[in-house]
């Protein structure tokens, strides 16, 4: 994995890529919060949100496959929950279907099925919004956008250092591991192998610590005094702001309609 991979899609150009990061971050956050609040009994609001996301995906002119691949990263967590929930959440005890297996009875509960549907659709929508945001905004722009939205500075500084040094650390680890392997690490007895692995982790920690100190010295040398100052960012254009307005109105409209309709009625 490389930075170029991470930022590859974000460096393309499209109307959505050009929208200022702050607006996109606010839009994605709005969409995620609204999706969480949707009542799981209804299907059409989810369909409406997915349609909006699909439209944005077209607008972003992103290739489908890499986007889906990023989304697939969520699959292990979501699918585990979705498969287990129908069996484990009895709700009011209504059983939708049951299966006899020898002496065992597997019960599929109605409440569980509903929860599984909610988990699937809600994570698809929130995951989709996040992926769309990341795929249309370079990482540095995203950090600046979040900063403008008054995200905690310290947290953002930590994230930006992580982004900056993650691959350096990975490279350092690979070099240490290669050096160990080239002296036949894998042929040794288990105890020696574990000891060497511990040594690698330990020296990685020391190197990280050292580097942290050196980076801090380098920051001090250029006048750092504990306050972060950032570049002014590109102005929000009127068209983009209006676009965000329309988007949020649509999202909130669907949410309001879904919440106001009688909860018992079938969709």
């Amino acid at each position: 994995m490389e930075h170029s991979y991470l930022d590859e899609l974000a460096r393309r150009s499209s109307p959505l890529h050009r929208v200022e990061a702050r607006l996109k971050a606010a839009g994605a956050l709005g969409m995620i919060v609204a999706a969480m609040l949707l009542p799981p009994e209804r299907t059409w609001p989810f369909a409406a949100y997915l349609a909006v996301l699909g439209g944005l995906l077209l607008l972003a002119r992103l290739p489908l496959l890499p986007v889906l691949r990023r989304l697939a990263g969520l699959a292990p967590f979501v699918l585990t929950a979705a498969v287990l929930l129908p069996f484990t959440r009895p709700g009011d005890g209504t059983v939708s279907a049951s299966l006899q297996l020898g002496g065992w009875e597997l019960r599929l509960y109605r409440a569980g099925l509903l929860a599984a549907k909610a988990v699937l659709l809600k994570s698809l929508i929130s995951g989709g919004s996040a992926v769309l945001l990341v795929c249309t905004t370079p990482f540095s722009g995203l950090l600046r956008g979040l900063e403008r939205l008054h995200f905690p500075r310290l947290l953002l500084t930590i994230i930006s250092f992580l982004y900056r040094y993650l691959f350096l650390l990975q490279g350092e680890f690979l070099r240490l591991a290669r050096a160990a392997r080239s002296r036949n690490w894998d042929a040794g007895p288990l105890r020696a192998r574990l000891a060497a692995a511990g040594g690698i982790v330990g020296s990685l920690f020391l190197r990280t610590y050292d580097r942290g100190e050196r980076v801090y010295t380098a920051m001090l040398a250029r006048g750092y005094d504990g306050r972060s100052r950032t570049l002014s960012d590109p102005a929000v254009t009127r068209g983009a702001a209006a676009g965000l307005g329309v988007f949020l109105a649509l999202v909130l409209g669907v949410l309001a309609a879904a919440l106001l309709a009688a909860p018992g009625a079938t969709p």
Binding site: H3, S160, F161, F167, R214, L220, A221, Y224
Partner: protein, 221 residues
């Protein structure tokens, strides 16, 4: 030892002689007691002067990975000027001027420094202090890890920068080329101080301090 404005001084000496330590002391990175021992432009390096000293002494670290910590090249070069309070068009202009001085093309501004070549990283590291209008350039092993063409480019760049330069290095050929004067340090003390051609050609002195006479001087004999 003292260094007059505009001079280029090579700091040479064996490993552990105190070359890097001396550079770090120049801007108070290693503590700043009474500040009477180190003076920069006549100012003691002590807390009240620290900001001014750090602006005027541009420290370029041995490993550019330590110096370039921002998500983009542009932000890295802007870090110093931002801390000095610059913003807007003036900031952009400073960053562009510094990058142009080290011959980094505009396309690289938005890139992450980690993925550039070692030579580019080294030049950007120099740009980060040029953008602060440093008057003294303090470089730690600037030609280390560069390929011969990268090294040649860096030597040309250093020779062309009209600043006071202090260059700690084991690359004695480079010291000979860039610096008129060299200071030989060993175990934290000045062991010799004089014209580069004379100090570097002194075979006994060089051997005594785990150095050697550069090949170019031996051949010229």
């Amino acid at each position: 030892m003292s260094v007059p404005p505009g001079e280029s001084v090579g700091l040479i000496g064996p490993n552990g002689a105190g070359k890097s330590t001396l550079l770090l002391h120049l801007n108070g990175s290693l503590g700043h007691g009474d500040g009477e021992r180190v003076r920069v432009f006549g100012l003691p390096v002590s807390r009240p002067n620290l900001h001014q000293v750090r602006r005027r002494v541009g420290l370029v670290f041995q490993d550019p990975e330590d110096q370039l910590f921002s998500p983009t090249v542009f932000e890295d070069v802007a870090f110093g000027p931002l801390n000095l309070g610059f913003s807007g068009a003036e900031l952009v202009q400073r960053v562009r001027r510094a990058l142009a001085a080290v011959e980094i093309p505009r396309e690289l501004e938005g890139r992450l420094a980690h993925h550039l070549s070692y030579g580019e990283k080294r030049r950007i590291a120099i740009a980060t202090v040029l953008a602060m209008d440093a008057e003294i350039l303090a470089l730690d092993e600037p030609t280390g890890n560069l390929d011969p063409a990268g090294r040649r480019g860096l030597i040309a760049l250093l020779a062309g920068l009209p600043l006071t330069k202090l260059i700690a290095t084991h690359d004695l050929e480079m010291a000979l080329e860039v610096c008129r004067r060299v200071v030989l340090l060993d175990r934290g003390r000045v062991a010799a101080d004089g014209p580069a051609r004379e100090v570097l050609a002194d075979e006994a002195l060089m051997r005594e301090h785990r150095l050697e006479v550069p090949l170019s001087l031996r051949l010229a004999r």
